[in-house]
Symmetry: C2
């Protein structure tokens, strides 16, 4: 039926510079600076910069990087809080042709070292707050990156580690620098490490095309309008802040920076800067719900909150909405540029009882506008499960906002893309109305305060302790953190160790947020084939009374 | 500085089915049908179809087309009013791999014949209303397309011309048909003929990528939100209704069809269907402004109106906004998928006097979110003019929503893309704030009631009359139509012809909307080199008193 030889529609109609431009989110920065030069882009302490200034600083950063020998294919790492420097790096680094690697600031020195080495970081921008671990990480490297300090007056303490600070580095760049757009929209723009199932984190590579599309997807699906004001409660190192630095450029919104997720500055920002949008794990919403009387006074406008990582409980949704917050539940992974699936709210649900609304809103949802497909299917055959709300399967996604792949890890890349779908590792049911709902996570990920913790990584560390015979770590539901790691330990015959000693050992060998908050000693339940029954341990962890844990 | 050999970011990170899907607006239809199956998609007379039904009908159309031998690279033409069939064709035709060619229903038989032949149309869907010219056009063809009738109960009159009607054709298709997405996002999706500067129209080819991006650009820049209700005052044959069939799928909005742009059904639709958005030439806004007392009663919600083709006069903007309509002025060409440039409204202009607001809003504006660049530059050197609001230059655009090119016309394609920018042919100034404003049209296009008329084409016809020595056609400002063609004629020595006779001749040889409404006999002003001074004629046309024209 199809004509296989090129017909008139394929002849003399090639790509030209006039009608084909590789997609990149940097274009949004240029557009906002051109149309809204005087509109606020970045707010941080006493700093208030507009889009014209922000473009000039990003060009300056790119120029300084190029002068420092950085170019296409190089990695520029950043260990920073949510400050203007990291926001600017989302544009300035790719404008130099390089790849931005924003590192989780809660990691321990060994993990940061691993990332800097694996990413082959050429330059590291680092904030004083994290100087202790960063100093350790860099000191241990055979070929350390050049270190440049972020010397933020909003933070006191820590040390300067580099040969100059960010502002001095910027001063060496040209604010009118003519940056080179990517020659190919498949070119890498960012590198984000995820814990995954093994001890070593995997480097998730984003490309310009995906960053562009997911930035637009955020704006479109959240109905952000033009010139919103966005509060940075979500770390920018989490999937590039779910691509929101680029989204803010697309909608010419103002970014209100925030070093620490604390209630007072959040309330002040919402009230004084008229924040319209923020993202965060349910723990952030929980914090707002439990705000002391009076703290949220004076906030009269509607604020949209986007949450992910765990289903927001009914009580939180109810309290948030009573206080004028509209909560949107989204779902995604580092591999999908952050939120790719959204619990799209149907107006016909508006009049349901709050418990029913919470039940509907707890579901992960349906594909966002730029995702091409989401399904719940058999993990091996990829056969979709029935949409019955009961049959378990794995969530699969495909589309242009699925990562380019894992850096220097073709095996893991091939495995997770097997069959033409991205394997999320999350187990879910598929409801009749097409909404997916996570029921378990096959990768044994514990999400605590919005951070992913690999239970296998924690187990690895525990197993390395001379007293430990067997270790199994599962998630324990927690009213504050969502989940916390709970360790079940069988000691070697004759070995003795207290919970406190084992906790101290863990704190010496892993990031503090990964340390098990509950430790139970005893034999582990196993299947007939010797496999530890994690399902049973999860049940036990859920039923623990507080007297039994630390 | 750059590493030229593929580094780790280019190794083992190739496109796969999981992370690369060619962009196509058809994906939005599938998404809306999946998420909002029960939400209204199409309203026409007594027809009210939801997104699930619409997807099934589009699949059915694609399936029936494939069964009829249609496939990739084939052209399917449509001569239709704004009815569900043409809406569905925007999806069903490309779902078969073919290219949609929606033809301007106001064209004469010869023009339609030319288009059908040039496009090599394999199937023609045609509405009874246009049977007279379509019959003539098809009858004159050596290899006519198969003709299928659109037998719309909302229209009385005309004849059925084909071997079956659209519903019977659809019935032969499979509503569960598994359509094939485009293998390449550069594949053609639509073909739209534009009058341009020569007598023969040029076929503007759109691709899936551009249609996808411009559909999103509409939703984003107009802040449409989810589930808007859109009234079809703009013909769907105009640049595929400025891509709004695809936009409506992206935002799961309802399309209220409208066969004729008449005040009563417009008022009724806005009131009864709670229309939130519509597009149209300023003449449509003018119609609403001049609505008789009482007709617009009962409309209490805000309606957004998008207009283009001519700057909306201050009085119209003022009246529209007083009546609760928000007017957005956009600019584009058939070659840019419709609106690509937008007069983005700045909130700081809100408190200006209405004349000042109208002056600002009359400007064509700045690049839309998906256009990569717009500039006013020297037509030959492409050197940008100063942003002084005075220096004239030509408007140039570049980006992914610039057409693929002109069908079977590599010369015109190469010319209009020379230097890596699309040459619009529109002359403009560039204001200090970056907004472009058209001051003249170098291509001699007259825009009458939103329709483009090539003055050269009208002149060609006039020149063919035996009594005519010289003819020059320019735009004459018109309070109702925006502009009308005004002809200046020098007769041959001794020749005699009246205005009525010449008008009758024109009506026999061109579409009625192109016929000059004013004819002035006399010598034509010329430069020393013999070139007709069109500038002087435009001045004369503007100053004409009504006694002198027909």
């Amino acid at each position: 039926m199809e004509s296989r030889t090129p017909g008139p529609y394929e002849t003399g109609l090639d790509r030209t510079a006039a009608n084909y431009v590789p997609l990149t989110p940097i274009t949004f920065l240029e557009r906002s600076a051109a149309i809204y030069p005087d509109q606020l882009a970045v707010i941080h302490g006493s700093i208030r910069r507009n889009w014209a200034e922000t473009l000039r600083r990003c060009r300056q950063l790119a120029s300084a990087l190029v002068a420092a020998g950085i170019g296409r294919g190089d990695t520029v790492s950043v260990v920073a809080a949510n400050t203007p420097e990291l926001f600017e790096a989302h544009f300035g680094v790719p404008m130099s042709g390089a790849v931005l690697n924003a590192i989780n600031t809660r990691l321990d020195a060994a993990s940061i070292q691993f990332i800097l080495e694996h990413a082959d970081a050429r330059i590291l921008f680092t904030d004083r707050e994290f100087s202790k671990v960063v100093r350790q990480a860099v000191a241990a490297m055979a070929t350390p990156p050049r270190v440049i300090d972020i010397d933020d007056p909003e933070f006191e303490g820590g040390e300067l580690l580099g040969d100059m600070d960010y502002e001095a580095f910027l001063a060496g760049g040209d604010p009118d620098y003519v940056w080179q757009p990517p020659g190919d929209e498949w070119q890498a723009i960012a590198l984000n490490y995820t814990s995954g199932t093994t001890g070593n984190p995997k480097g998730v590579v984003y490309h310009h095309r995906g960053a562009y599309l997911n930035a637009v997807s955020n704006a479109l699906s959240w109905e952000m309008g033009s010139n919103p004001t966005y509060l940075w409660t979500l770390p920018m190192f989490h999937c590039n802040g779910w691509c929101f630095p680029w989204t803010m450029a697309a909608v010419a919104g103002a970014s209100v920076c925030l070093r620490h997720v604390r209630l007072e500055p959040i309330a002040a920002a919402i009230r004084d800067e008229k924040v319209t949008h923020f993202c965060g794990a349910p723990i952030v919403l929980n914090m707002i719900c439990n705000a002391p009387a009076g703290l949220m006074d004076g906030i009269t406008h509607t604020v949209k909150a986007m949450t992910a990582g765990a289903a927001p409980p009914a009580a939180i949704i109810e309290t948030m909405e009573r206080r004028g917050f509209q909560v949107t539940h989204v779902y995604g992974l580092t591999e999908t540029y952050g939120p790719a699936v959204q619990c799209v709210w149907r107006t016909r649900w508006n009049d349901l009882p709050i418990e029913e609304k919470a039940r509907l809103k707890a579901r992960q949802g349906v594909r966002g506008p730029m995702l091409e497909g989401v399904m719940v299917a058999d993990p091996l055959s990829l056969e979709p499960v029935p949409k019955d709300g009961r049959t378990m399967g794995e969530i699969f996604m495909r589309g242009n906002n699925v990562m380019k792949g894992y850096l220097k890890n073709p095996k893991a890349t091939a495995e997770c893309f097997a069959g033409g779908w991205f394997h999320t590792g999350d187990l879910a049911v598929w409801h009749e109305d097409g909404y997916v709902e996570i029921k378990d996570r096959s990768k044994d990920i514990i999400i605590s305060g919005g951070e992913n913790i690999s239970s296998l990584e924690v187990e690895d560390t525990l197993y390395r302790h001379p007293a430990v015979l067997e270790a199994a770590v599962v998630a324990r539901p927690d009213p504050k953190w969502g989940e916390t790691p709970c360790a079940f330990i069988t000691l070697k015959p004759g070995a003795k160790i207290t919970r406190d000693e084992l906790t101290a050992y863990c704190r010496d060998h892993m990031a503090h947020f990964k340390v098990p908050r509950s430790i139970i000693f005893g034999p582990l339940p196993k299947t007939s084939t010797g496999k530890i029954q994690k399902f049973e341990l999860r049940r036990q962890a859920k039923d623990l009374d507080d007297g039994r844990d630390l």
